[in-house]
C-alpha cells in the first residue's frame, strides 16, 4: 500500500511537478467546489513526497504472517535501526576548546566583540583571501587583447620586469574597488577606484611606468 494518494513513488521530481500542475488545474479552489480542501491535501502530499524523495526512508520488511512472533518484529526493528545508523554520516568531531590563558581582570572586563563586522572596518578575511587568490591566479593568466591579465576580481593592467623587481598596476573590483601599484607583490600605492576608471587606469599606468608613486 502506497503512503501517497496522488503521487506515485516511482515518479521523478519533474514528473511529480507536472502532475501537481495538472492536478492544480483540476482541483484549484476556483474550479472545484470544495473550498480548496483537495488542493490543500495535494500540496501537503506533494511536500511530503518531495521530502520522502530527497530523504528516502529506510524500511525493512515487517513480519508478514499474522502469527509472527514478537521476536520477528524485534529483529525487523533492530535491523532497521542498524541500517539507519549505517547510512548516517559519522558525527563531526567536536573541536577541543582552546587552552584558557590566565587573563588579567581588566581584559576580562572588556565587552565582547560585535557579532557583525561593520562595513567600515575593512574587507573581511574571506574577501582579502579572495583578492590574494585572484591576484596569484591572474599572474598565471595569459594577457588578453588589451594586454591585461584578468582573473576574478583582479586585473593586472601593466607589468614591468626589472632586474630583481617586478612592478604591477592592478585594478581590484568587488565590494571595495581600488587601484594598486605593487613592487614584487608588495602594495606601494593604493587609491579607491571611481567611475572615471579609464582616466584612472591611464594615470595608474603612467605612474607605474615613471615609478612616480
Amino acid at each position: 500500500m502506497s503512503p501517497f494518494t496522488y503521487f506515485a513513488e516511482t515518479l521523478t521530481e519533474d514528473e511529480a511537478k507536472k502532475l501537481r500542475k495538472r492536478l492544480a488545474l483540476q482541483y484549484h479552489p476556483d474550479v472545484a467546489d470544495d473550498g480548496g480542501a483537495t488542493m490543500r491535501n495535494i500540496n501537503t502530499e506533494f511536500e511530503r513526497w518531495l521530502e520522502w524523495k530527497l530523504n528516502p526512508p529506510i524500511l525493512v520488511p515487517a513480519p508478514t504472517s499474522n502469527w509472527a512472533s514478537p521476536e520477528d518484529w524485534w529483529s525487523a526493528i533492530a535491523n532497521a535501526s542498524h541500517q539507519k545508523a549505517a547510512t548516517q554520516p559519522p558525527p563531526r568531531p567536536t573541536p577541543s576548546p582552546p587552552p584558557q590563558a590566565a587573563t588579567p581582570p581588566s581584559q576580562a572586563a572588556t565587552p565582547p566583540p560585535p557579532l557583525r563586522r561593520s562595513r567600515s572596518a575593512g574587507p573581511s578575511r574571506s574577501a582579502t583571501q579572495r583578492e590574494m587568490d585572484d591576484y596569484f591566479a591572474a599572474q598565471n593568466t595569459y594577457p588578453d587583447s588589451h594586454g591585461h591579465r584578468v582573473f576574478g576580481i583582479v586585473t593586472i593592467l601593466y607589468t614591468a620586469y626589472l632586474t630583481g623587481l617586478t612592478i604591477e598596476a592592478l585594478e581590484i573590483r568587488g565590494s571595495n574597488p581600488r587601484h594598486q601599484i605593487r613592487e614584487s607583490g608588495t602594495v606601494v600605492y593604493e587609491r579607491p577606484a571611481t567611475r572615471a576608471w579609464q582616466a584612472e587606469r591611464r594615470d595608474l599606468i603612467a605612474r607605474a611606468t615613471a615609478r612616480n608613486y
Binding site: L59, I77, A78, S81, Q83, A86
Partner: protein, 207 residues
C-alpha cells in the same frame, strides 16, 4: 452542550495508532527505524492503583502507563518502539505492554535493547522502582552507544524513593542521558517524555 472526555485505555492485543505495527501496515508491510525505544516496566508493582488517567479517574499505574504510551506513539508515529519488561522481556510492536506481572528484570531488558543499539536510537526507561540486579544493569548500560533517559514514576516511601532515584540518575548519567521524576501521577507522562526528548515539530534530536 459539553462533551465529557473519557479515557480509553488500550488493552493488550489492541494495535495503538502510531505504533510500529500500525505504521508497518501503512507503509505496505515495511518497518521504519524507530528513533526511540521505550523500556516500559510492567512488573507487579505497576498494579498499584495510585495513578491517574487523562480524564482524572484513579487507575493502576499500568493502565495510566498504557494510556500515556499510546498518546506518545500517536504524537510521534512510527518513531517509538516499545519493549516491556518484568521477569521476562516482551517486544510490543502493537504498542501495548502485557498486564503487570513478575519482578523488574532490567538487565535482560537492556540486553535485549542492546541488539538495537546502533547509535542512531535513543532509549527511554520508564520504571517505578529498583531493578532485580541493579549493579549488572548499570554495568551493561555503560556499554550503550545511544543515550538512555530515565523516568521514575509512582509514589514511594522516602528511603525507597531515594534509592530508586539514585539508581535511575546513575543509569542516565552512565550514558549521557537525563533523569526525570514524573510528579504528575503519570497523567502528564507523555508530555514530560516529549519535553525530556526535546521534541520540536516531530523532530527528535538523536545522539
Amino acid at each position: 452542550m459539553t462533551t465529557e472526555f473519557t479515557s480509553i485505555v488500550p488493552r493488550p492485543g489492541d494495535i495503538v495508532p502510531g505504533s510500529v505495527a500500525a505504521m508497518a501496515r501503512q507503509n505496505g508491510g515495511k518497518v521504519a527505524p524507530p528513533e526511540i525505544i521505550v523500556l516500559f516496566d510492567h512488573s507487579y508493582s505497576m498494579d498499584a492503583k495510585d495513578a491517574r488517567l487523562l480524564d482524572g479517574r484513579t487507575a493502576m499505574r499500568y493502565e495510566a502507563g498504557c494510556e500515556q504510551l499510546a498518546l506518545l506513539q500517536r504524537r510521534l508515529p512510527g518513531k517509538i518502539a516499545v519493549l516491556a519488561f518484568s521477569s521476562d522481556v516482551t517486544v510490543c510492536p502493537n504498542g501495548v505492554p502485557p498486564a503487570p506481572t513478575g519482578t523488574t528484570n532490567l538487565y535482560d531488558a537492556l540486553q535485549k535493547a542492546k541488539q538495537a543499539d546502533s547509535g542512531a536510537v535513543r532509549f527511554v526507561l520508564i520504571s517505578d522502582g529498583l531493578p532485580d540486579n541493579a549493579n549488572n544493569a548499570l554495568e551493561l548500560a555503560r556499554s550503550f552507544s545511544g543515550q538512555i533517559d530515565a523516568v521514575l514514576i509512582g509514589n514511594h516511601y522516602e528511603a525507597e524513593a531515594q534509592m530508586a532515584e539514585d539508581f535511575m540518575t546513575a543509569l542516565a548519567a552512565a550514558t549521557g542521558g537525563t533523569f526525570m521524576r514524573d510528579a504528575s501521577g503519570m497523567r502528564a507522562l507523555a508530555d514530560n517524555v516529549i519535553k525530556l526528548l526535546g521534541v520540536s515539530d516531530g523532530t527528535i534530536t538523536t545522539v
